[in-house]
């Protein structure tokens, strides 16, 4: 067995995402095992562009509050820093303020008085457009160009912070750092980097632990502890019954990464191509050979905007003749719907889209399926109308309602009636959101595009009338 590391900086990573679930027992175990800080991430682009475009959180307020309360109690009891990145899913200013307000509410309810640093990294579209015109933007593959108009087309833009604003906030005396959009890795690497641990080991440890227990044998069994040294780091599950193996840890480099060996971060590139993963015990993995190669400081940008409106309907079909010829049936239905909308709504809808997606057949792929596949027993046929306004999308849906309900396979057949689950069947879905940017911006200083504020929670309670 490999000899264990000494003089490490230990980071308790309680979960892959604030709001997804934190276990109080993990905090107790991690603090008892010598955690020097608690860090996790609270956001991602993975669930789609709506969260950035609207500033809404993916997780429920009560879920976030429940997790955050556990973390804040542990922070106060142990007197160690708590760092949370990408607050409120997108990490935009409104989302960060939403998490700030939850933290202040918890502080009041629990009688806690932490000093909280807030790191804002949302960017004005007009400022980003100006930076694009100055040549400070670089596109990331598969985007090949920088079009300044793409920046002004965004409803919201965030720049992904590196560890430096977190390090500065801790040095300024913050007990808790709530960050806007940040690379997952940077939030976890900040404290080891601040305390002088190895740069390659700090970044690689952050990457391995970014999804909490995802790098363990049982990802559902809570979080992990990373122990970062000068030339190596260790990762260990917080649950005593869970294990990390060299294969579970190294396989995490595959997860949601397009390249498993090289990761671009704000101030450089993490190179794990020479990394070695050893079993330090039967449940602790030690990693050596991680390297971080400094590069000009850039921040990745994420931008999203609201697009057209959608109205949807769902109908269930068990008709055996239809199910024996689904593709022909749907092609006919689609053609007739488009014809009816043009015939009745005319110039009022210059541009619209009707999408028919038979769940239980080929809705997910959209690929045509030929025989000899057996017919399904039933399908759920999802109708989606997309148009410039909600009113138009709904009028298109209402126009198509009788077609979706009664369309026969052939004209000489009696009209069928398919199974609507709702009355009315149409559901106004709001807007379809889009990601607009895949760029990095060059900055002179890591905090050039970051705004910081420090607040004392629970310190200035003023009850009116007393």
């Amino acid at each position: 067995m490999t000899s264990r590391l000494v003089d490490t900086v230990n980071i308790l990573v309680p979960t892959g995402a604030l709001g997804a679930g934190v276990r109080e027992a993990d905090l107790t175990a991690g603090v008892a095992a010598g955690a020097h800080g608690i860090a996790c991430d609270a956001g991602s682009t993975d669930s789609g562009p709506a969260y950035l475009a609207t500033g809404q959180s993916k997780y429920a307020r009560d879920s976030v509050k429940s997790d955050l309360a556990i973390l804040m109690r542990a922070q106060a009891a142990a007197g160690i820093p708590l760092l949370i990145g990408s607050c409120g899913t997108s990490g935009c200013d409104d989302a960060l303020d939403w998490v700030r307000d939850i933290a202040l509410e918890i502080a009041l309810e629990e009688g806690l008085h932490p000093r909280i640093a807030l790191l804002y990294s949302e960017q004005r579209p007009s400022t980003m457009m100006a930076l694009a015109e100055q040549g400070r933007m670089e596109p990331l593959a598969p985007v090949a160009t920088v079009d300044p108009a793409a920046f002004s087309a965004c409803d919201r833009i965030v720049a992904l912070m590196g560890p430096e604003p977190y390090m500065a906030a801790i040095e300024a005396g913050a007990d808790i750092v709530l960050g806007g959009r940040t690379t997952d890795t940077a939030v976890l690497a900040a404290l080891p980097l601040l305390r002088g641990m190895g740069v390659g080991a700090s970044w690689h440890a952050g990457k391995i632990a970014e999804c909490g227990g995802q790098c363990t044998l049982n990802p559902r069994a809570g979080g992990v502890m990373i122990r970062v040294g000068r030339d190596a780091f260790e990762v260990e599950p917080l649950d005593p019954d869970n294990r990390c193996l060299p294969s579970t840890v190294s396989a995490h480099m595959l997860y949601e990464n397009s390249d498993p060996f090289f990761l671009y971060e704000p101030g450089g590139m993490l190179d794990v191509s020479q990394a070695e993963y050893h079993a330090a015990t039967d449940r602790v993995v030690q990693v050596t050979g991680s390297r971080f190669i400094s590069r000009p400081y850039t921040m990745k940008l994420e931008g999203a905007a609201a697009g057209d409106y959608q109205t949807v309907m769902l109908v269930g079909i068990q008709d055996r003749a239809v199910l024996a010829e689904i593709d022909r049936f749907i092609a006919q239905m689609h053609a007739y719907m488009v014809h009816r909308v043009k015939e009745t709504m005319g110039d009022r809808v210059a541009e619209f889209d009707i999408s028919l997606r038979p769940y239980g057949w080929n809705a997910v792929s959209g690929d045509l399926i030929g025989p000899p596949l057996p017919a399904p027993r039933e399908i759920g046929l999802l109708f989606i109308a997309t148009a410039a306004t909600q009113e138009l999308a709904t009028q298109i849906a209402k126009t198509c309602n009788p077609v979706l309900f009664h369309m026969p396979l052939d004209v000489d057949r009696e009209l069928p009636s398919f199974a609507f689950p709702f009355s009315p069947p149409e559901m106004e879905r709001g807007r379809a959101f889009e990601f607009k940017l895949n760029h990095v911006v060059h900055v002179d200083q890591p905090d050039e595009l970051v705004r910081v504020s420090l607040i004392n929670a629970g310190a200035s309670v003023h009850v009116q009338g007393q």
């Binding site: 709506a50 949601e256 397009s258 498993p260 792929s365």
Partner: protein
């Protein structure tokens, strides 16, 4: 010839950011990895045809320690938008499962 689904213990796909999909193919064991990871059906031209993307845009990695083949390719459209059918890219691996692989060993 064997299908991907027959020689792998796990095949998965997922977004790698809003602009990329990455597919991880975990072979059943060392023997299956050595026999099939370099099959012509898992080389860049075949992968490009399967996912309908340019050959130049594909990233392909072979990881002997994990007995894994990893391929990443750009989405036709960014994640989201009116035409999205698989928001997290989690079902895109299905295209690979029935691909028949030629053995690279005699």
């Amino acid at each position: 010839m064997s299908k991907v689904s027959e020689v792998c213990r796990h095949v998965r796909s997922k977004n790698a950011g809003p602009f990329w999909i990455t597919v991880d193919v975990f072979f059943r064991d060392r023997a299956a990895f050595e026999r099939y990871a370099e099959s012509p059906e898992l080389q860049v031209p075949a992968i490009a045809a399967l996912f309908d993307v340019d050959e130049d845009s594909i990233k392909r990695f072979v990881l002997p320690n994990l007995q894994v083949l990893k391929v990443s390719y750009p989405r036709k459209r960014p994640q989201g938008g009116a035409l999205e059918r698989d928001m997290h890219g989690g079902q895109q691996y299905l295209r690979l499962l029935d691909v028949e692989l030629s053995s690279m060993l005699a």
